[in-house]
Symmetry: C2
Subunit: 228 residues, 2 copies
DNA sequence: TCAAAAGTGTTAGACTTACACCCATGT
DNA sequence: ACATGGGTGTAAGTCTAACACTTTTGA
C-alpha cells in the first residue's frame, strides 16, 4: 500500500491587508486588491498573494507578497486560516491566508510617492465587487476576526502613527466596529489599561489641544500565537 | 522571470484529539499519539495525521486520519493552524493542524472493544514525552485554544455524553481550565444560558440525585468558522 | 443520623453605561 | 463670545465571586 502523493496540490499564500482611509464622513476600512491578468478569473479582483516558495516560511511569503503589493511593512501580521476545499479553484490549491494592518500615514505617503501601482486598487471592505475564487468569503472572515480582536487587544493602534490622540484611536475603533463609542468611557477604559502611555506633546488644531499617547513597548498579553 | 514552483512542498494534515479519562483524583485531558515507524524521528511519538490527498478537503483529511486513529467521529472539529516553517522537518512539509473533541464514553467503549490499536497510545497533555517534529509546541497551542474556547462557548459538553449533570459538566470545565469553580455560581451561569435544557431524568448514586441536562440543538452562536 | 453532594439565597465589589458638566482653544 | 471637541465626575444597572444555608439521598 502506498499513500497517494500530493505533489499536484499547490500552496498559495494570500493576505488581507487592512488600512484606514479618510472619507467625507469618518474613515473607511480599506483593502488593496490585485486585478488578475490570467485565467482563471482573468480580469477579476483578487487578494494579493502568490505561490509559496520552497525556501521561505509561510509568514515570510505573506510579508513578501505584502511588500510586492504595497511596498510597505505591516504593523501587524497574523495567520487567518488555511482554505483547502477541493472545488475552490479549477486546479487543486490550498491557500494559506494572512491578515495584516498598515499604518494609515505610511499608506498615504506611499500612495503620494508612487502614483498608482499597476493593477492594484484599494477598496472599501463594505463595498467590494465580486472577487475571484472564494475571496469574498475570505475577506468577510478576516473582517470578522479584525472586529473581534479589536475588542480585546491593542491592535487598533496598528492602523495609526506612533503617536495619536484618544479621539483618533477611538475613531479607529468606531470605524472597525461600525458603532459609536462614548468618548469619556473610552478614555477611562484605555487610560486605565497600562499599555497606553501619555506623551508631552499635544495635537493642536481646531479646538482644545488633545494630548498625544503612544503604546508602550511591552508585549500585548491579550493575544498569543502558536509559537509562544 | 518565473515564479519558482512549489511542487516539492508536501501538505500534511494532523489532528490534536482531546478526550477525558478518569484518574484517581479527578479526570485528565488526554490525546492519542502514534508511534512513528520510519524516519525522520523513527520511534518517537507524533500527532496522528497523514498526507493530504488530491481529492479531499482539509477537514475531510482531518476526519479521515481521526477515524483511522480512533475509529470514532468527533463532536467537535476545528482548524488550529497551518505550520510551515522551512526547518520544521528535513523535507519541506506544511502541516495543517486540526483539533477535535471526543466524547469520553465513546472512547471508553471503543477502547474496551478494541483492546489496544497498534502504535496508538493515549497521553496526559500535562505529561507528554518529547514528540517528533514541532509537535510539542503544536499540542501546547491546541491546549491553549481549547482552554480559551471553553471560557466563551459551549464546546465543553463535546467531551461528555448527551446527558450529563451540572457537576459532571463543571468537572469538565475544571479539568480543562485547571482550576476549581464555585458550584452554585456555575449552576446559575449555565442555567441562565438558554442553551442548556433540563431533562426529566436524574443521576442517582451516592447522594442526592442530580438532574440531567442536555444541550439544545440550536447553533452555538458564540463561535464562528470561516465560511458562515 | 450523619456525611456529602444538590441546589437556593444573599451580599459586596467590580465593571459597564449613560449622561451631566467643566475646560481650553480657534475663529 | 461661542461653538466644539477635550476631559472629569457621578450614579444606576449589570455582572462576578464568595459563601451561608437548606434539601435530599446512601450508608
Amino acid at each position: 500500500m502506498h499513500t497517494p502523493l500530493n505533489h499536484d496540490i499547490r500552496i498559495a499564500v494570500s493576505t488581507v491587508i487592512f488600512s484606514l482611509r479618510a472619507r467625507t464622513e469618518g474613515d473607511s476600512l480599506m483593502i488593496p486588491l490585485v486585478k488578475r491578468t490570467r485565467d482563471p478569473h482573468d480580469g477579476m479582483w483578487a487578494l494579493p498573494g502568490g505561490w509559496l516558495r520552497e525556501d521561505e516560511g509561510l509568514e515570510d511569503a505573506a510579508s513578501r507578497t505584502l511588500a510586492e503589493t504595497t511596498a510597505l511593512a505591516p504593523t501587524w501580521l497574523e495567520q487567518l486560516y488555511a482554505f483547502g476545499d477541493v472545488e475552490r479553484a479549477p486546479t487543486r490549491v490550498v491557500s494559506i491566508v494572512y491578515w495584516a494592518l498598515l499604518r494609515s500615514d505610511h499608506v498615504e505617503a506611499q500612495r503620494a510617492a508612487d502614483g498608482a501601482p499597476d493593477n492594484v486598487e484599494w477598496f472599501d471592505v463594505d463595498d467590494l465587487p465580486a472577487l475571484a475564487f472564494d475571496h469574498n468569503a475570505i475577506v468577510e472572515y478576516a473582517v470578522w476576526r479584525l472586529r473581534n480582536k479589536v475588542g480585546y487587544s491593542r491592535i487598533a493602534a496598528g492602523l495609526l502613527p506612533d503617536e495619536f490622540t484618544l479621539a483618533e484611536l477611538r475613531s479607529v475603533y468606531e470605524t472597525v466596529l461600525g458603532s459609536r463609542l462614548d468618548p469619556s468611557n473610552f478614555r477611562r477604559l484605555l487610560e486605565g489599561s497600562e499599555a497606553l502611555v501619555p506623551t508631552d506633546s499635544f495635537r493642536t488644531g481646531n479646538h482644545r489641544p488633545a494630548q498625544l499617547f503612544r503604546y508602550n513597548a511591552g508585549p500585548d498579553l491579550s493575544t498569543r500565537g502558536p509559537i509562544a
